[in-house]
Amino acid sequence: MTPTAPPAFPALPTLPAPWPALGTPPPAAGDFDPAGPLALLILLPLVGALVLALAPRPVVRLATRAAVLWTLPGALFLLAAAWFGGAAHGAFAVRWLERLPGGGGLVLSIWNLVPALLVGLAAPLALAVPEAREKTPSRAAFLLVLTAANLAVILAVGPGVAVAGWLGGAWALCFLLGEADAVNAGQEASAPFVLHAFAGACVLAAALAPPFLPLLLVAGVIRLGVPPTHGVQARTFALLPTGALLLVVVGFAVTGLAAARDGVAALRASGVGGPGWGVGAAWLGPLAVASALAAAWVGFVALAEGDLKRRLAGFASAQGALWVTLLLACDPTLARPAVGAWALVTLVTLVLLVLAYAPLWAFARTGDLKAYGGLGRVALVRSTLLLVGLAALVFAPVLSARGAGAAALVDVLARRIPAGGPVVLGGALGLLAVGLSVYRTIRGETAMPLPAPDLSAAEWCVVVLFGATLFLLSALGPPLGGLGSLWPVFAAAGGS
């Protein structure tokens, strides 16, 4: 890391964000160091996947169990970077640029540290979380590939690495789904793959020609599961193993939001006299209304689901539609910090919820809501964790970025635009869907007794780790970090 002496929150650093490199020139070649730790962040999981693929039969079981080790150095490195930036030397101290031998480069900066940290920490959890089915080498390998792909998208300086990351993520998802869907001979893997490959194709087109930059919005919408892609997302969530679900929730959401943000920015810039199709800004209003209606629709759909994983998918889709609506309908200076911080709180909470439910899913081997109930009577700490998570989801708009999320919602309602009512309804219905599920888990009757379901020592470690992460993120300080404003790329790029 190359510390630079920052004055007290001067002009924003001129480093590329995870995505603006598509539309803005990359830093000068002299700023880049040779490939090093950032490249290893991506390469190490890929090497792990290769080792798992080539491991001889006697050691393959051991290699599968030890797969988590390939992700730990990356997680520790990102934690150290967050500490360095947040606690020791100030947010702007984090500035790390590397060039890759085959062209392209990687960057870790205040602009993308938070999403990178989220994915980096979710990766070891995804490999260590209890599963309903025994861990297989191929599943572990493709979890590692998915980790590398998501990190490549987040850290990419130029479009080449980013496109590779998007398509790599689609392939990893295809294999994870196909492996999980052995009963139906992998038939369910096709639709999500085609959809996510299409998203990758949109990113590819956007990467090659500026007039196609608004296609990033389509790619983002697909990754966020916004209708009409919510059905595929629900099937994907229901089918995926718990670890893969965790990684998809975090990785696809952060990359999808970044793409949606850039797509909206490109659309906004492509009005009269701007580059692109020349229709840009005129589409923002209708698209915002469509997105708000989609949020309401998917909220209703989520409420009707009888499967917990599908409800989580519905909630994620509703939230995704809500965030896209805010990006489209609000002024960027308001929408971006609101959406970024809201998303971070939501994603951290979703990780905690998935971890809290993981042992129950592993035991019951189903996501059916009727399989769980009465947790409040036998596992008070886990129930409390679920309630805390639910409360965090409910108050996320107020908690994040000094209430920027709530302010953005109020702005949409106050302007009485058609998107206002449906978007609030969609958000509320999504929350209700998850809330009712949690309520049933805590208070309802169970079809089967749950064995010793309270928090284990390992789970306590996870809770403590996430507490420490939140502390580090909050230490990044306003206006760029912490719970005051948690997604620097959104907060800082307001004017672009």
Binding site: G102, G103, L167, Q187, S190, A197, A201, A205, A209, P210
Partner: protein, 456 residues
């Protein structure tokens, strides 16, 4: 005894050609020069073509295991002769020599098929190849005749200045050039003139079909590079026509074969159609004012490496399973994990595997050329998406389907045969990765051709 000696000789020929190709790629770069009083050019393009054809011929000679005795040796020598024809065409600056090279290449190649393989299908493939090659050379011959008559010259540099000398000659010359485009399209598999090639490349005996798939596009592109270099002075008038034709070939070629690959039920044909789509993308290096050989040569090298990876995997599948129908490959990952991995890797290479040379050159070409032509870019991206889905279809058959219960028993080939497939596959994939990551100066060598005389 005769069989052993012939086999040994064929192997020696193959090894010698591969070593020669390596020497051309790795050796010191000599300055470009004209030979035979300017009739031939020993420049970057001809050297790149020579090395690629030598590699293809050497590998094909090594892969000729079906033929026995003198037939094997005869096939290797016929392939060598055909390769010499392609090399001659790549170096020729004179229309007569250019046509002669093509004629030798498209005649001897099919003869090698019937010499090496005595099955009924091989005869059919040889006849198809002969007809297609004959059609292409015939069309090219007529158009060359017209051009040389209009310009009263056979050297491409003279043609450029002379062909538009008379006002009324322009339309005739343009028509001849259009006919040349059709002839080249037949050799380079530009849609819609690609229709016979998936069968020829995808179902033929693997080493021979692979030779055709590698060498013919070099021959076709050589015609285009040499003619474009010579006719550069005339392109001021014909730029619109050229641009429209290129766009048409590009859009059709990006979409049609990729869509057809989704409906194919044989692995070889799927790979051939994916290859045709990839090959078409090289048209991005053709523009209204000429051709960029420095983009086409590495593109053809990347395509060639991908072909070798795919051909080795297909050959391994045919050797073990007996045929390459996708239905027979269901659940292959559980029966033959290494072979399934090879097929999956080959499918991924055709779809675009990050870190490989073939994708690196395609990416560079897209970035170089696509920004200026949104329509072509849209077609290229759609084609890439369709090829991705086709590759996913192959992979899902291999990994996500139940094993065929009533399928035929697996063939157990000789260990030497299995090792050969693995060796060729591994070497080609390694080269793809090493060159793709830019770890050696060879990658730069393939990208930066020495200047192409009268062109580029």
């Amino acid at each position: 005894m005769l069989d052993a000696v012939a086999a040994l000789l064929a192997v020696l020929v193959g090894v010698a050609f591969v070593a020669w190709a390596a020497a051309l790629v790795l050796g010191p770069v000599a300055p470009e020069r004209l030979v035979l009083q300017g009739l031939l050019a020993d420049d970057g393009w001809s050297r790149a073509a020579r090395a690629a054809v030598l590699l293809a011929t050497g590998l094909a000679a090594l892969g000729l295991v079906q033929a026995r005795g003198l037939r094997r040796l005869a096939a290797a020598l016929l392939l060598a002769l055909a390769g010499a024809g392609v090399a001659l065409a790549a170096a020729a600056l004179d229309l007569t020599l250019l046509w002669l090279g093509l004629a030798v290449a498209v005649t001897c190649g099919p003869l090698a098929i019937v010499a090496a393989d005595d099955r009924r299908n091989a005869a059919r493939h040889a006849l198809s190849a002969l007809l297609m090659g004959g059609l292409a050379t015939g069309v090219l011959g007529v158009s060359f005749l017209a051009l040389s008559s209009l310009g009263n010259a056979t050297h491409v540099v003279d043609l450029g200045f002379l062909v538009t000398r008379y006002e009324h000659a322009g339309p005739f010359a343009l028509t001849a050039l259009r006919a040349t485009g059709v002839g080249v399209a037949l050799l380079c598999a530009w849609a819609p003139f690609h229709l016979g090639l998936p069968e020829l490349w995808g179902e033929g005996s693997t080493p021979l079909a692979g030779w055709l798939a590698l060498a013919w596009p070099w021959a076709g592109w050589s015609v285009l590079v040499r003619l474009a270099g010579g006719l550069l002075p005339a392109f001021g008038e014909w730029s619109f026509d050229a641009a429209v034709a290129v766009q048409l070939f590009l859009v059709l070629g990006a979409l049609l074969p990729a869509a057809a690959a989704l409906a194919e039920d044989r692995l070889g044909r799927v790979f051939a159609l994916l290859a045709v789509g990839t090959l078409t993308e090289l048209l991005l290096a053709v523009h209204a004012h000429g051709v960029d050989p420095e983009w086409i040569a590495p593109g053809l090298w990347g395509y060639g490496l991908a072909w070798i990876v795919g051909a080795a995997a297909t050959a391994a599948v045919r050797a073990r399973v007996g045929d390459d129908r996708l239905a027979s490959l269901a659940g292959l990952a559980t029966r033959l994990p290494r072979t399934a991995f090879a097929v999956a890797a080959a499918a991924l290479v055709w779809a675009g595997l990050p870190g490989t040379f073939s994708l690196a050159v395609r990416w560079a070409l897209w970035q170089h050329a696509a920004g200026a032509t949104p329509l072509a870019l849209a077609a290229i991206v759609c084609g890439a998406f369709l090829r991705l889905v086709a590759a996913a279809r192959v992979i899902s058959v291999l990994y996500f389907r139940a094993t065929v219960r009533d399928g035929a028993d697996l063939v157990v080939p000789l260990a030497s045969g299995r090792a050969r497939y693995g060796l060729v596959f591994g070497l080609a994939l390694l080269l793809e990765l090493v060159l793709g990551l830019g770890l050696t100066p060879w990658a730069a060598r393939l990208f930066t051709l020495a200047p192409v005389l009268y062109g580029g």
